[in-house]
């Protein structure tokens, strides 16, 4: 490597992957972020309306725009897009689907009827304000929806009416589940990693303990979800076992899956190795001399553990806990398979809007908020831990 400087060779080796990740990963993520504020769907379906209303002063009923709307609706009917447009507009305001359908059908029969004759709804200035807002391709609406906020006609930002508030609760529930899963992983993972790291455990016991963590770690998420369904469902192994043992009656079968309980149990199972492995690597690196010093100075083993060993392993606990918490926040597969209706998290709502309701703008907005939360945690928590002396 005399001919090339090491740094230039380094760049040449790194850049292919960096370029690949920028194109195949960061660009898609950026597209999603853009989608949360940029939604050209209605603008594309109503190009003339958009042009006219962009010049409108926002007062009364814009007579000049009625022709544009008529032309756009006729074209949408001709190209079979009217259903999509009606559905899309209905999302902005309930009742618009009917208005658009009725108007479009009327225009098909009598192309030159005035809009206000077809339906008095077209004389409502509020409708035109909505149209002006939604035909602009740039919108903050999706982000507001994702935060359960809405804008009143006079421009004030208020919370959605009670029945339509969904997402803030869901974000909080996701954070709560992630915290709970992290806590359970810590309670189960710490003793396990400790047993593994302890000098007393011989090499073959260690190999076994490692094997038992790595087997589920490497096994497909789908396989693990399947296994837990078999165990936990109402006619599953656990319920049948309890029934056979006489601990529960036929009516007392436990609802262990297809709800939040199922989501939490299976998420703990999936994420436990992610807690154990980093914690173990910290424990394995600790010199045994501190513990021996404490013991030889006469400290009770419990005291030695609590005052000497435990604080030394905090960096591993922090690293494993952060990993588990961040992974839980974005978990999709497990809740989707075992969460039923009540065990769903924010990721499932994003998938729902992508695949079922086809409200892509809202999906992107929810995704943007989730990404912000994850990045904020990933960037700040390690730094906080470092300042607190928890350096890994």
């Amino acid at each position: 490597m005399n001919a090339v400087s090491p740094s230039r060779a380094g760049w040449a080796l790194v850049l292919p992957l960096v370029a690949f990740i920028v194109i195949a990963f960061l660009a898609p993520i950026a597209t999603m972020l853009l989608r949360s504020v940029h939604d050209p769907e209605i603008a594309d379906l109503m190009p003339r309306t958009r042009q006219t209303l962009a010049r409108w002063d926002g007062i009364g009923v814009p007579q000049m725009a009625t022709e544009a709307v008529t032309a756009d609706l006729r074209e949408a009917s001709a190209t079979n897009q009217i259903g999509r447009l009606a559905q899309r507009l209905n999302r902005e305001r309930n009742g618009l689907r009917v208005l658009i359908d009725v108007t479009a059908r009327h225009l098909e029969r009598e192309p030159d009827t005035k809009l206000s004759r077809i339906d008095p709804g077209w004389s409502d200035p509020a409708l035109w304000q909505i149209l002006a807002r939604v035909t602009s391709p740039w919108t903050g609406q999706h982000l507001l929806n994702a935060l359960d906020l809405t804008v009143t006609p006079d421009g004030a930002m208020v919370r959605q009416e009670e029945a339509r508030r969904l997402y803030v609760d869901l974000f909080l529930r996701t954070a709560w589940v992630a915290a709970l899963v992290t806590l359970i992983c810590a309670l189960l993972g710490y003793p396990y990693a400790y047993a593994y790291a302890m000098a007393a455990a011989g090499p073959s016991l260690r190999a076994l303990l490692l094997f038992l963590v790595l087997l589920p770690f490497w096994t497909s998420l789908l396989v693990r979800a399947t296994a837990w369904i078999v165990l936990l469902q109402r006619r599953g192994v656990i319920n049948e076992g309890l029934l056979a043992a006489g601990l529960i009656g036929e009516t007392g079968r436990l609802d262990l899956i297809y709800n939040m309980t199922g989501t939490i149990i299976v998420m703990v199972h999936v994420l436990l190795p992610f807690f154990v492995l980093p914690l173990y690597s910290v424990m394995a690196g600790l010199p045994t001399s501190y513990v021996r010093a404490s013991a030889s100075l006469g400290a009770h083993p419990v005291r030695t553990f609590a005052r000497v060993y435990l604080p030394l392993t905090y960096p591993g606990v922090a690293a494993g806990g952060l990993l588990v918490f961040i992974l839980s926040l974005g978990y999709y597969v497990t809740p989707a398979l075992v969460g039923g209706r009540t065990g769903q998290l924010i990721s499932n709502q994003i998938a729902f809007h992508m695949q079922r309701s086809l409200n892509w703008g809202l999906a992107a907005a929810l995704g943007t908020l989730l990404l912000l939360a994850v990045l904020l945690l990933a960037l700040t928590l390690p730094r906080l831990a470092e300042r607190g002396g928890l350096r890994a």
Partner: protein
């Protein structure tokens, strides 16, 4: 620690170990269920040979859907694994030659697919590929899987490189070896275990990936995880138990093999 406390502690660890592994083992006997249920039949519990059957194994072996899914999964992984391994190994080798600042910055970019929830990547890549007509195509899935898998290779090869002795390179160059042959004769053999485990990670990442596939695969691109997904969610057929058992078996064999190889390599090392 006194005896009782030690016993209690090991009991606790045994329970945690059972929690980790037993669910995976329960599906094994259930996959031999002759009935289309997810539970033990009385005949199975009496260990009556007639109560056990290979019905579900036959079903997946004969099912055109499962075969297509296996072909697709293996085909995708067969492209993703070498691509991710090559890109990742190169990047890991290059990163350590860079000055600290750009190295840290690029490391963050490279690690980003590991931190960002997959559902967001799936959402984004759907938006990104839809205008290009690449949804419902193998190309899109391979692109996304490679981006998810390559960072793992960087991590494993990078950790293999931390124990790599740079002086060996200088020694080789003093002895007149050209850089390329130094790489193949010195560097590569020493980091080969890291590359191999990186490649294994890449393979598993692709083979086990469900979310990207859910968003990007059409019927023709169905993979094993998608097949299992519909087996768990829509049809609830014990055929998924047979498939799951085969996958647990495969993972066990690969892991035991890797552990044995690592152990024999270690003992060979100490003998020398």
């Amino acid at each position: 620690m006194n005896r009782l406390a030690r016993f209690g502690f090991y009991l606790l660890c045994g329970l945690i170990a059972a929690f980790l592994v037993l669910p995976l083992l329960v599906i094994v006997p259930l996959s031999f269920n002759p009935e289309p249920y997810f539970s033990f039949t009385p005949a199975m519990l009496q260990l009556d040979p007639a109560g056990w059957s290979l019905r579900w194994y036959r079903e997946i072996a004969e099912s055109a859907q499962w075969r297509l899914a296996l072909r697709n999964s293996l085909g995708i992984a067969a492209v993703v694994t070498p691509l991710a391994t090559l890109l990742g190994t190169m990047a890991a080798l290059g990163l350590r030659r860079l000055p600290t600042r750009p190295r840290k910055m690029l490391a963050v970019i490279i690690a980003s697919p590991l931190v960002v929830p997959v559902i967001l990547f799936a959402t984004g890549i759907y938006f990104f590929l839809a205008p290009l007509g690449l949804t419902q195509s193998f190309a899109g899935i391979i692109l996304a899987h490679t981006a998810l898998a390559a960072p793992y290779v960087v991590v494993t090869v990078g950790s293999a490189l931390t124990t790599f002795d740079e002086r060996l390179l200088r020694a080789a160059s003093i002895l007149g070896s050209p850089p390329l042959s130094t790489f193949f004769k010195v560097t590569l053999p020493l980091i080969a275990p890291g590359i191999a485990s990186g490649a294994l990670f890449a393979f598993v990442t692709s083979f086990d990936e469900a979310v990207i596939a859910l968003f990007l695969a059409g019927y023709d691109q169905r993979t094993i995880p998608l097949q299992m997904w519909s087996g768990v969610r829509d049809q609830l057929s014990p055929a998924v138990l047979a498939a799951a058992t085969l996958m647990v078996l495969l993972v066990t064999i690969v892991m035991l093999g890797a552990m044995l190889i690592a152990r024999s390599a270690r003992s060979a090392g100490t003998r020398r």
